[in-house]
Symmetry: C2
């Protein structure tokens, strides 16, 4: 194990990233190949296998020392069954037993994990959560993804849909989320909904420096909100504050549920840096009890877009350690 | 292990319940002794030890076959350190290393667990959660307590304050909870706050069949609300529905975090039976997404007041199995 190597594959709708790491989470190499979704299931599966094979070749390690391949894939999926179920942006992989296929074609034991869980495991193993046993990660992208480590293990849940932290309800009866629920943290604090909230307020007649963009039919982006808020636009500041506030509510809820030592923020919105971190910390502190001194430390993720393949390799490392492939 | 016995001790502010169970969670005997808080630390500790000794004697089992004593105590406490920290209703036990004391005085390896966690473990091991790997318990008493089992293990958290489910925020900026936070589920769905909500509404002038009680200076109890609601009192029905609704929000949040197979409801409010269960199920279903079919089954607890000592014995059984005392 200590002298073994692990391959991580991060399966995305456009590209597949792959890399080889050693047991100390050191990246020996990484590469990217196109997913080629339009070519269909067989091509995508072949590209996954090729990305792993190429990474091993590129790392120049002894193939016999490669102890596992971890595949991070969009969910829903079953880690236990090694089965991709119905990934939104990869419909051609519906019901594909990816773990078994990759294991058979490479001759290397493989494991399948949902991409948000894999990324959280990456930060835990090699990034902003290194040395921490209990970690929570929120990925603030188009949606809000989540990953949770409890006592050093990924929390998966009975139905294997655990850590869907974007769908924590932070405002009952609130904004409709893309999942159909009302008032999910995703409906306020994701890059997509942040911009929608601002657009709706502007369309409803509120003043903003972003009005011209909306009037011109341009679709607002999260970056526009952050930029306008930093420049002092009152509406943008309100929307940004709301996003940080509700994320604070979700963090306090996690404080009382899995009681982590650290919360890591990842995804596109972390480009805002301290403008995000300072506010989220402020609100979490303001919302949380003071009965006990157990508010987790909140940090920005360290691995960027590499968290996916690093974490997938970490899942293989973890499976090798526990026997739970 | 299979032919071992386990002692469970449930430490309360008034009484200490103790019992002996076999490895199949069968209760061989149980008893209760007064805690005698006014007599102070040494007397309380002596009573804990005596309750365990008496239970072993009463069960008539071979003492050499008693593999462990589990002590469920009010928190906050440290399972890892075996230390009671600062229990609200047992101030004399502040900073008492109870695990070590009980182990030394009985000569039997002991383990210390927070009482809410122990009760949840009891339902998991021998009650309404039997056969379930991922369980969440809400105890609807004066406050709202919680316990969470993830993949067969108690969730404790880094600061050992995990599963404080009563303090999940279900209404940001809402009612002030006894913990200082605003909008905790406890501030709406506990027996205590349920009655306070009704009282406040009546004092504010709303009509209710409970008005006379409040006018007479009587302190409303949760039973009064349930009784009045069942009899058709509109205010009581509204308050009861609100309690069930917010519990539904907390359950949906747990669905997306630890993703349990089953949620068990315990505590005084379960006396309302189906009048509780039907509404909580209705609201959880109404609030939850329909994207995935992973809403946990919601059930009433099976062990009543015995969950504490049964669960404490279960914690000893679990410690014996895992070596984590």
């Amino acid at each position: 194990m200590a002298d073994s190597f692990y391959v991580g594959v991060d399966l995305g709708g456009t590209n597949i990233k792959a890399g080889v790491l050693d047991a100390d989470a050191k990246v020996l190499c990484s590469l990217s190949v196109p997913t080629e979704v339009p070519k269909g299931r067989d091509a995508v599966v072949a590209n996954i296998v090729v990305s792993a094979q190429q990474a091993i070749a590129q790392a120049g390690v002894n193939r016999a020392k490669v102890a596992g391949i971890g595949i991070g894939s969009p969910g829903p999926l079953s880690h236990r069954k090694g089965l991709v179920i119905n990934p939104g942006n990869l419909p051609c992989l519906k019901d594909v037993p990816l773990r078994q296929i990759v294991t058979e074609r490479t001759g290397i034991q493989s494991t399948l994990e949902n991409d948000a869980n894999a990324a959280a495991f990456g930060e835990y193993w090699a990034g902003a959560g290194k040395g921490v046993s209990d970690l929570v990660m929120f990925t603030l992208g188009t949606g809000v993804g989540g990953g949770v480590i409890v006592a050093g293990r990924l929390l998966r849940g009975f139905f294997e849909n655990g850590a869907e932290l974007g769908h924590i309800v932070v405002q009952p009866g609130g904004r409709k989320c893309s999942c159909g629920q009302l008032g999910c943290v995703e409906a306020y604090s994701s890059a997509y909904f942040l911009a929608r909230v601002a657009e709706e307020m502007i369309r409803a007649g509120e003043a903003s420096s972003l009005k011209a963009r909306v009037a011109a039919g341009e679709m607002l982006m999260a970056e526009h909100i952050v930029e306008a808020a930093k420049a002092g636009d009152a509406l943008a500041m309100k929307v940004w504050d709301q996003a940080c506030y509700y994320l604070g509510v979700a963090i306090v809820n996690m404080q009382h549920v899995t009681n982590p030592e650290r919360v890591v923020l990842a995804g596109g919105l972390i480009a805002a840096g301290d403008y995000l971190l300072d506010r989220v910390r402020k609100y979490a502190k303001q919302i949380s009890w003071t009965l006990l001194d157990d508010l987790p430390e909140i940090r920005i993720a360290a691995l960027g877009n590499d968290a996916g393949f690093i974490g997938a390799a970490g899942c293989a490392w973890e499976a090798d350690r526990t026997g739970d492939w």
